[in-house]
């Protein structure tokens, strides 16, 4: 594992993607997912109305969450499932541990669940002697590497095939230096089959819970959740309370968006709607709050709960692509992680809203239309406490803007110093981002000087678009000027 004790976002980013090559590979891999998403969306004629419908359905679900949760619980129980409620991570871990202990379950296969990552379920169970094997291939890779997932959909996107080959050689006995993805996948398939067949219990998350049928819906490409729920006698599904949707008939809206937004697929390979336990088995559903109800009561940020975990906002984010998921220091990285991070509290919460260029690309691709960059901005103003240096700089900027003479003097002072800032003081404490960027060269003359010179020469006029055509020179006059 690329372990780091670094505390800051940029230090963690450097530790995650330490070389230019790794950074470029990560950037290209993640951007490729974005391109695939664009191509898939372009094939769907009703893409935008689908997004609007999904946003409206999620808004409805959050507005009626109490009723939908009660309806889901009643129908799931009616179908033979056991429903448990967990206020926080501690409660979830306790409930799952007790369920496993009561049945003497020691071997558990688990499919991808960001919630159980959030609640630290794996280490909790491991400390009690329960073997938990993550079965999603990407999750298995990061589990063997003793790391955390760095992406919602491709958890090991930060790792090279060589690193994965070395891991598999150490843990699965694959030939040394084997790094062919297909052969490595075959080895993992064969290795994990043994765990599936020997498992006492399967733990899954769920993409959706359906209020009008009491069903849970699990979406995968690998089929690992299906094996994990059809072989062991005990299935424990852990899901956040925000996963409830009103009706089974609403699901196609989300399913048409989910995989296309995530990887550009028309739909994931397997979408399983499970209602009650399988014949001869037990199904336990744990509904987890862990801060979600608090977020729901926050009118500015509640819409973040609409997230369907497609990862599209990560793939498009220029900061995520160049920093990697571990830089965020949270279970969910990227823009949605930065929006949810402050809600979960902690020191990281104040830092993450700044891990964004506020370009708005995340908002543009979100399938449920969460105003991600707007929320990041809101979190900044809510959580950020300006440092003394920032306050001084803000005051200086305000003064310069108020008094043109002062602004002119500052400009005159800055102009000769400008090249030194970028090239000779790359770690200038005034602007940490100079460590990774050079300032663009200043033009020989300032904009004001150029403007004045053009006016003096009689050529200064604005020829771009204006909102009031009446103030523009007449067409004949403009064409004359162009001809001059």
């Amino acid at each position: 594992m690329r372990r780091t004790k670094a505390q800051g976002f940029d230090e963690r980013a450097r530790a995650t993607l330490p070389s230019r090559g790794e950074l470029a590979q990560h950037d290209a891999a993640v951007w490729d997912l974005r391109r695939r998403r664009d191509a898939a969306a372009a094939e769907v004629p009703d893409w935008e109305t689908l997004r609007e419908r999904a946003a409206a359905l999620k808004a409805f679900a959050l507005d009626h969450l109490d009723e939908l949760l009660v309806g889901f619980e009643q129908r799931a129980r009616g179908a033979g499932a056991h429903v448990h409620w967990a206020s926080d991570a501690t409660a979830l871990c306790r409930i799952v541990t007790e369920l496993l202990a009561a049945r003497g379950a020691r071997r558990v296969v688990k499919s991808k669940s960001m919630l159980t990552e959030e609640c630290g379920l794996n280490p909790h169970l491991a400390a009690r002697g329960i073997e938990v094997v993550d079965t999603d291939l990407g999750e298995r890779i990061v589990q063997l590497a003793e790391e955390k997932p760095s992406h919602l959909i491709v958890p090991a996107v930060h790792k090279t095939r060589r690193e994965i080959g070395a891991l598999f050689h150490r843990h699965m006995g694959t030939p040394e230096k084997e790094d062919d993805p297909e052969r490595l996948t075959r080895h993992a398939r064969s290795n994990l089959r043994r765990y599936f067949l020997a498992a006492d219990a399967g733990i899954t998350g769920a993409n959706f819970a359906v209020a009008d049928t009491g069903s849970i819906v699990i979406v995968t490409n690998e089929g690992n959740a299906d094996l994990g729920t059809s072989l062991p006698p005990l299935h424990i599904a852990c899901l956040g309370i925000e996963k409830v949707v009103p009706a089974l008939a609403d699901l196609p809206v989300f399913l048409r968006l989910l995989a296309r937004s995530a990887t550009g697929q028309p739909i994931s390979a397997y979408t399983s709607v499970l209602t009650g336990p399988r014949s001869g088995g037990e199904l336990h559903i744990v509904l987890v709050d862990n801060g979600r109800s608090e977020l729901l009561a926050n009118p500015t940020h509640r819409s973040a709960l609409a997230c369907i975990r497609c990862g599209a906002c990560l793939n498009t984010c220029p900061v995520y692509r160049r920093a990697g998921g571990h830089a965020y220091g949270t279970v969910i990285p990227g823009p949605i992680g930065s929006v949810l991070g402050p809600a979960l509290g902690g020191k990281l919460g104040a830092e993450l809203p700044h891990a964004s260029s506020l370009c708005g690309s995340c908002t543009a691709v979100c399938p449920v239309k969460i105003d991600l960059h707007g929320q990041l901005l809101a979190w900044r103003s809510e959580r950020h406490r300006p440092t003394r240096r920032e306050r001084l700089l803000t005051r200086a900027a305000a003064s310069a803007l108020r008094w043109p003479a002062l602004r002119g003097a500052a400009r005159g002072l800055l102009r000769p110093l400008w090249p030194l800032l970028g090239r000779h003081h790359p770690r200038n404490p005034a602007e940490p981002w100079l460590a990774v960027r050079e300032l663009p060269p200043l033009p020989p003359k300032s904009f004001r000087a150029q403007w004045q010179a053009r006016r003096a020469a009689g050529g200064a006029s604005y020829s771009g678009p204006v909102s009031k055509p009446a103030v523009r020179p007449a067409r004949s006059e403009r064409s004359e000027r162009r001809n001059e």
């Binding site: 409805f60 994965i164 709607v273 014949s279």
Partner: protein
């Protein structure tokens, strides 16, 4: 107060307004039919065969199964065997131990409905009661009446019987199992079947 009531009280506090349900999504006009389905199935890594007239299905299936199984064990769910007649496969008993399917090379299952826009085929519990079978097998063969293909997922979903969720599972399958977790290289057969064939049934 129980943990449940505590959570629900907090959730009620967060119900800031009561918006109306937006209603069903208007179904888009998309191309449907066997050809559209087969083209999309190829894109997601599967292979379409036929469609075959009902009387020719058995022979086509037998030929395909022999080719795919390579001498391995072939198991058909009872509903699929009923459609195809006798062939080079055994009929699954229900309920069977799921672990008993660990050595199956080819599984044959009947699909109930399909969506051409994503090549997803719905399997109902009544047709596929042995839930582990389509995932443990090395290759999966689905039998699909062409009449069950709908242009899009909305209409295919609406075609599921009301009783569908009274059974334990409804599974939508689109292509074989797949992963791209190692340097984004697409590999079929991560955990589930390495390949998926769909035999269309005409008429």
């Amino acid at each position: 107060m129980s943990e449940r009531d505590d959570i629900l009280t907090r959730v009620r506090r967060g119900a800031l307004q009561r918006s109306a349900h937006p209603g069903p999504h208007p179904t888009p006009a998309l191309p449907g039919g066997w050809d559209a389905f087969a083209a999309m199935l190829a894109r997601v890594g599967g292979e379409a065969h036929g469609p075959f007239a009902p009387h020719a299905l058995g022979a086509a299936l037998a030929e395909l199964v022999r080719r795919r199984a390579g001498g391995g064990r072939c198991v058909a769910e009872a509903s699929a065997a009923e459609l195809a007649g006798r062939g080079p496969f055994e009929t699954a008993r229900t309920p069977a131990s799921p672990h008993g399917f660990a050595d199956v090379s080819v599984a044959i299952v009947r699909g109930h409905a399909a969506a051409a826009d994503c090549a997803a085929v719905a399997l109902l519990e009544r047709d596929a009661p042995n839930r582990a079978l389509p995932f443990l097998c090395q290759r999966l063969v689905l039998l699909l009446p062409v009449a069950a293909i709908h242009p899009d997922l909305h209409s295919a979903w609406a075609a599921l019987p009301e009783t569908a969720t009274r059974g334990h599972h409804v599974t939508w399958i689109s292509g074989p199992s797949k992963t791209a977790d190692i340097e984004q290289t697409l590999v079929y057969g991560a955990h589930g079947p390495l390949g998926l064939d769909v035999l269309g049934i005409a008429g």
